[in-house]
């Protein structure tokens, strides 16, 4: 097992980034595709495994026209949503319908345009499967979550208007609520497994096929553990913050503050920050557990293996410090934050290279349009698997 490394530096990337921002501003946005290519190339080409690096092959010129179309769509969307109350409902719905397609196009384009050691990646997943994974499953999941509150909001007023509430409802309602919560949690784990499998099993490296065998049970365990950790961490955060508030401003002030929201201002602010930090740990916990499990069970041609050694403590510390850095420099530390995060994740990604990559060859692939990827970029559509 060999770890990947990141060979860029924060100061070097800062210089590239600031020039990108400057040129994007003075060209009123027209430079953005070139800026995007330079950003992506910097992170791809500095990711190195055994002296061989990744490469991002798109050019600004190639992205430019699709970028203009994507921007036009984005501007139309923003205007339509603001201008008419109907547009504000219809257009987000259209976007929701388009998301699986955008994810699918992005995967195809991004894989095709990326190489490692001179060999291109590819993506063979289908659009239909993308709709099952990124529309049908989320839809069922949301349904399971909202069915209880919606049911309560619709049924209870109707029943109470009709007079007395039948006894069977009193018994059945909590059972139904519990069942739908259990189902929602199961559905969440199932959806995660399916989404990850879709992306990995569809991925290619030259003629090589990535494959993964995952179990819903494992994702369920991770989800349940994450819920447990959330409860513990949030309770701890609350106790510590309450104790801190009691010590620093005195209990009487806190009690008086309960009746006077204005006095609670600073305390609420501290609470807010505490909750953000706590939720970062929870996110990091969930991401690292899943990553470890997924990498361990994924291979390239059943030959080359992967491992993730990323730990929740390290990742959450990185997230917190990055956030603070960015906040206190009004965004100027963004390049360092990005480089630090890239270094941490790459150094914790291990690949068994015993067989080597020498047999891999780029396969003939049709040119992919970048339009879907760029619309996705404009609307910030992300698969969000944290791989």
């Amino acid at each position: 097992m060999k770890a990947l490394s990141f060979e860029g530096s924060g100061s070097e990337y800062f210089q590239i980034w600031i020039v990108n921002v400057l040129l994007t501003i003075v060209t009123l946005g027209l430079y953005y595709p070139w800026a995007k290519v330079r950003n992506h190339r910097y992170f791809h080409a500095n990711s190195v495994l055994e002296g061989k690096n990744f490469e991002y092959h798109a050019t600004g010129k190639q992205l430019f026209f699709a970028y203009l179309i994507a921007m036009a769509i984005f501007i139309l969307y923003m205007v339509a949503v603001q201008v008419s109350p109907m547009g504000a409902i219809i257009f987000p719905l259209v976007l929701f319908l388009a998301i699986p397609w955008l994810i699918w196009r992005s995967l195809k384009f991004n894989m095709r345009i990326t190489s490692f050691s001179n060999v291109r990646f590819g993506f063979k997943g289908t659009a239909g499967a993308a709709y099952v994974n990124f529309f049908l499953y989320p839809f069922i999941f949301l349904l399971a979550i909202y069915i209880v509150p919606i049911g309560t909001a619709v049924l209870i007023p109707k029943l109470s208007a009709a007079g007395s509430v039948p006894t069977w409802i009193v018994v059945a309602a909590p059972i139904a609520a519990l069942a739908s919560i259990v189902f929602a949690i199961y559905m969440f784990a199932f959806m995660k497994k399916k989404n990850v499998s879709y992306v990995i099993n569809g991925s290619r490296f030259g003629q090589g096929i990535f494959s993964t065998e995952l179990e819903t049970k494992k994702f369920l365990m991770i989800t349940l553990k994450t819920l447990g950790v959330s409860i513990v961490v949030m309770t701890l955060a609350f106790i510590i913050l309450a104790a801190l508030a009691a010590v620093t401003v005195g209990l009487s002030t806190v009690q008086a503050g309960m009746n006077n929201p204005a006095a609670m201002g600073p305390i609420i602010a501290v609470m807010y920050v505490g909750v953000i930090f706590a939720s970062m740990f929870i996110i990091a916990y969930s991401v690292t557990r899943q990553r470890t499990y997924i990498y361990k069970n994924s291979t390239l041609d059943n030959d080359i293996q992967f491992e993730s050694t990323l730990k929740a403590k390290e990742l959450s510390w990185m997230m917190v410090t990055n956030l603070l850095m960015i906040m206190f420099t009004f965004g100027l530390a963004f390049p360092w934050a990005k480089v630090r995060m890239a270094r941490l994740t790459l150094e914790n990604t291990l690949v068994s290279t015993s067989g080597g990559f020498n047999e891999y060859m780029t396969q003939k692939q049709s040119e992919e349009s970048s339009l879907g990827e760029q619309i996705g970029d404009a609307f910030d559509v992300d698969v969000g698997l944290g791989l």
């Binding site: 210089q15 953005y32 080409a45 009746n259 006077n260 006095a263 990559f357 970029d377 910030d380």
Partner: protein, 374 residues
């Protein structure tokens, strides 16, 4: 001689190789097994310089030579990529980077402070009057359905206010004859609280709430607010808000394009502050529109500050009865912080300006120079 790795076209297998450049624009590639190829430099495709990432030189047959020796490559190929070598020069000189940084910060600031409102205003006024009708279409129905109830004012009262508005106030506006002003009355209640407010839709529909009409003690006070609302319509503020909002979201998307959720949080707050700053500008503009027309119509601008004060007191009074214990000092402090978030300019400032106009009025002037925020 440049040391590097050579890949056959599309293959992951690499072997050590050297590349050297000869006179007359010829290159020589020598592989590990001593095989060597010679060709014209013009047939080579060289990837642009980017920091110190490995350079890729692609030969005619699709094979690739990869090297870390960026400086040597630049020596021979800086002419091939004039634009990119200029970019690299920009990126690798710290003094230039600092200048870029300053220019970026200043131009971003200027863009948001002046560029966005100025351009939005130009665009808003370049669009045909129909656009305003289009935005406002269904808006009143929407508000009626979700916010307003029917007015409880007597028909006589409503007719009296409308008659005065159409015959005395509407003719004061000479800027845009295309606007069809319509006056509506609605009740707006939140729990037990009846909210005093006046709203203008871009189509020229102005809505007065029952509580607002009740709070007006003189006709002048109501006229002041009506003129303020007409200012919003004449200056096309709704349209400007839409355009400003689009500008801000596009600019934000471009600058922090590939960020993550954590950065987005900060950006969201920034956009919120930005849009309330724009909206404060609009309120000030509508105020000064109202004051100027009040002077012309011989209405004392002080009546604007009277009704503003009464409305604020009414709302404050109601809030106070909700939470009995009130700590004066903290309340004051909170107000200062909330000012940044508020969509209306500081009430005290607005009243100050109203009083300056009122002084002009008392001197019998019809035009007035006022210092303050605009």
């Amino acid at each position: 001689m440049i040391l590097g790795q050579w890949y056959e076209a599309g293959s992951a297998a690499a072997q050590p190789a050297t590349l050297s450049f000869k006179e007359e624009g010829l290159y020589q590639l020598t592989l590990e097994n001593a095989l060597s190829y010679v060709g014209h430099n013009s047939t080579l495709a060289v990837s642009p310089r980017l920091g110190n990432v490995a350079r890729k030189i692609t030969f005619e047959d699709g094979s690739v030579f990869s090297t870390d020796n960026n400086d040597a490559i630049d020596k021979y190929f800086s002419k091939q990529h004039k634009a990119y070598s200029l970019l690299h020069t920009l990126e690798s000189h710290s003094s230039l980077v600092i200048i870029a940084l300053l220019v970026t910060i200043l131009s971003t600031g200027a863009f948001f402070k002046w560029g966005v409102p100025w351009t939005s205003k130009k665009i808003a006024h370049a669009l045909p009057e129909k656009t305003n009708q289009l935005i406002a279409e269904n808006s009143l129905d929407f508000l009626d359905k979700y916010l307003f109830d029917d007015s409880n004012l007597t028909l006589k009262k409503k007719e009296q206010i409308q008659r005065h508005f159409y015959s005395n106030i509407v003719p004061l506006s000479k800027e845009n004859r295309e606007i069809k002003y319509q006056l509506h009355f609605r009740d707006w209640s939140d729990g037990n609280l009846s909210i005093p407010n006046a709203l203008a839709l871009p189509s020229g529909d102005i809505i007065l709430t029952d509580q607002f009409v009740k709070l007006c003690k003189t006709q002048d006070e109501m006229d002041a607010v009506l003129l303020h609302e007409m200012g919003h319509v004449v200056h096309r503020h709704t349209l400007e808000m839409v355009i400003e909002g689009t500008f801000v979201s596009v600019a934000v998307m471009l600058i922090v394009g590939d960020s993550n959720g954590l950065v987005d949080m900060g950006v969201g707050l920034g956009s919120l502050l930005m849009s309330s700053a724009y909206s404060r500008g609009h309120e000030a503009e509508a105020d000064s529109y109202a004051f100027k027309h009040m002077l012309a119509a011989h209405i004392d601008p002080a009546s604007f500050s009277h009704i503003m004060t009464r409305m604020t007191e009414y709302m404050d009074g109601h809030n106070e009865s909700n939470k009995r214990k009130k700590n004066e000092l903290v309340e004051e402090e909170k107000k200062d912080i909330l000012d940044y978030l508020s969509s209306h300019p500081n009430t005290k400032e607005r009243i100050d300006i109203a009083n300056q106009y009122s002084l002009c009025f008392k001197k019998g002037l019809e035009v007035c120079e006022v210092k303050g925020l605009q």
